[in-house]
């Protein structure tokens, strides 16, 4: 089945109030075109799940600055002073997780399981007494799986069945989120017919994907951020 979809229609499927996972760690893997369309359409009261808040004026930071996001579930927003200020002012709720715990919670949901046991952060203030489980003489922290209504994913290459390839450090959370959301929307600048990939090289199998949005080109959002170039 062809999963090709226009940008406008793909994003119009997302209602206000939705829980949305967004791939990307910093710029690489951030689906800027899908996000910018969500800014344009203006859905509100969103809960976002993303590793970081991008940087001010870019990516999910635009949704947050535009007042469309109620809550951000994340690991680190240290590169976005604007969002730290909005958090301190109580404009947005931020929930921090250890990065590998967020990844594993998403992976667990994507694998159809409900939680796992860990010792990460067990002695820190992020752990509440009710999170602890004594089992056969050991104490563990229970981490529950984390799923979402929608996932927005950037793939370097795709075919119209939804088979995906990522590149560089743009893999990060994308294959995990593609498994953990109920409706998965992919953008790619390079969409082609099935058969273009060696089957054993596919990173995310098309079974997880609902729609694929072809991008005519990558905008400047996807380019080099000058302040991360070493002088």
């Amino acid at each position: 089945m062809k999963k090709n979809q226009t940008l406008e229609k793909a994003i119009a499927a997302i209602p206000s109030g939705a829980v949305v996972m967004v791939g990307g760690f910093g710029n690489p893997g951030t689906p800027f075109s899908l996000i910018n369309e969500l800014v344009r359409q203006g859905q509100t009261d969103l809960t976002l799940i993303k590793n970081d808040a991008n940087e001010s004026g870019h990516g999910v930071s635009r949704l947050i600055e535009n007042g469309q996001v109620r809550k951000l579930i994340t690991t680190h927003i240290g590169l976005n002073k604007r969002v730290i200020d909005l958090m301190n002012q109580g404009v947005i709720e931020i929930q921090f997780h250890p990065q590998g715990m967020l990844a594993e919670k998403i992976r667990t949901a994507g694998a159809g399981s409900f939680g796992f046991l860990t010792d990460i952060g067990i002695d820190s203030e992020i752990t509440r007494p009710e999170d602890l489980l004594d089992w056969q003489g050991q104490t563990y922290k229970v981490e529950m799986a984390l799923s979402a209504d929608y996932a927005l994913i950037h793939a370097a290459q795709a075919d119209w069945l939804g088979n995906l390839l990522y590149r560089g450090s743009a893999i990060n959370f994308s294959p995990l989120m593609a498994m953990a959301a109920n409706h998965v929307i992919v953008e790619t600048p390079d969409l082609g017919a099935p058969g273009r990939f060696k089957p054993e090289q596919v990173h995310t199998p098309g079974a997880f994907i609902d729609s694929v949005v072809p991008l005519e080109s990558l905008t400047s959002d996807y380019g080099i951020l000058e302040h991360h170039v070493r002088r």
Binding site: F25, G26, N27, P28, G29, N51, E55, T74, T75, H76, I77, G78, L79, I84, M87, N88, I94, F96, H97, P98, Q99, G100, M101, L102, A103, E104, I106, R107, D119, I120, G121, D123, S124, E125, I126, A156, R167, G168, S169, A170, I171, N172, F173, S174, P175, L176, Y222, G223, I224, L225, H228, V229, R230
Partner: protein, 215 residues
């Protein structure tokens, strides 16, 4: 040399041949530029790289390849790329030999605080809890005092902890200190400074087993 250069040029000597090393956001990621080009090390970056290397010239720079702090990096021969679940499996399975990490506060017991200053600057946990809890050796890179001149090396951390008793060594712009059962032991001074003056800038009690800075 600036304070940062003193820390970085000393920190690079912590990296042993053949090791796997994670460099945290801030000063640590800059250590990579102090490594000789042929040095046998694999730099792990928690956003999904084993074998990250120095930034390429602008024409060869890849906008889809960054370190955990957002700086563009290159890949060494033999590098691998993977998702965040695999990246943190490497960390939690203790496959890293060394993590160098920044600190808001560090104390005499090796406790580390670097994720939350309530109401002011809370960047978040990132990979710090898992790195601090699971890496075989943790070296903190930090200025000895904060911008107001207050000690960052304390008797007991006051901010929310990232992890307890995880730090093995502290490299500041003034000294190299080891965390021991007897408290902090100064191994090296990186500037000409008396024991009394160094102690005056440190809340934790120091004992001295030093060789003087080479000048």
């Amino acid at each position: 040399m600036s304070a940062a250069e003193r820390i970085l040029s000393r920190a690079v000597n912590e990296i042993t041949s053949g090791s796997i090393v994670n460099l945290g956001i801030g000063l640590p990621t800059q250590v990579i530029h102090y490594l000789p080009d042929d040095f046998d090390v694999q730099i792990h970056s928690e956003n999904g790289i084993l074998g990250a290397w120095k930034q390429s010239a602008p024409e060869a720079m890849d906008p889809f390849l960054i370190d955990a702090a957002g700086a563009y990096v290159s890949l060494r021969e033999g590098a691998s790329l993977f998702d965040s679940a695999v990246s943190f499996a490497i960390i939690r399975r203790a496959r890293l030999d060394l993590t160098m990490i920044g600190a808001f506060e560090v104390d005499a017991h090796g406790n580390l605080a670097n994720w939350k200053i309530p109401g002011k600057f809370s960047p978040g946990i990132g990979g710090a809890m898992e790195l601090a809890q699971k890496t075989k050796r943790i070296v903190v890179l930090t200025t000895h005092t904060d911008k107001q001149g207050r000690p960052k090396i304390l008797k007991n951390c006051r901010l929310p902890l990232t992890a307890q008793t995880c730090v093995n060594r502290i490299i500041s712009d003034l000294a190299v200190m080891d965390v021991t059962a007897q408290g902090l032991v100064v191994r090296e001074k990186l500037v000409q400074i008396s024991d009394a003056d160094l102690q005056a800038q440190t809340e934790a009690e120091l004992t001295f087993a030093t060789r003087e800075a080479e000048s």
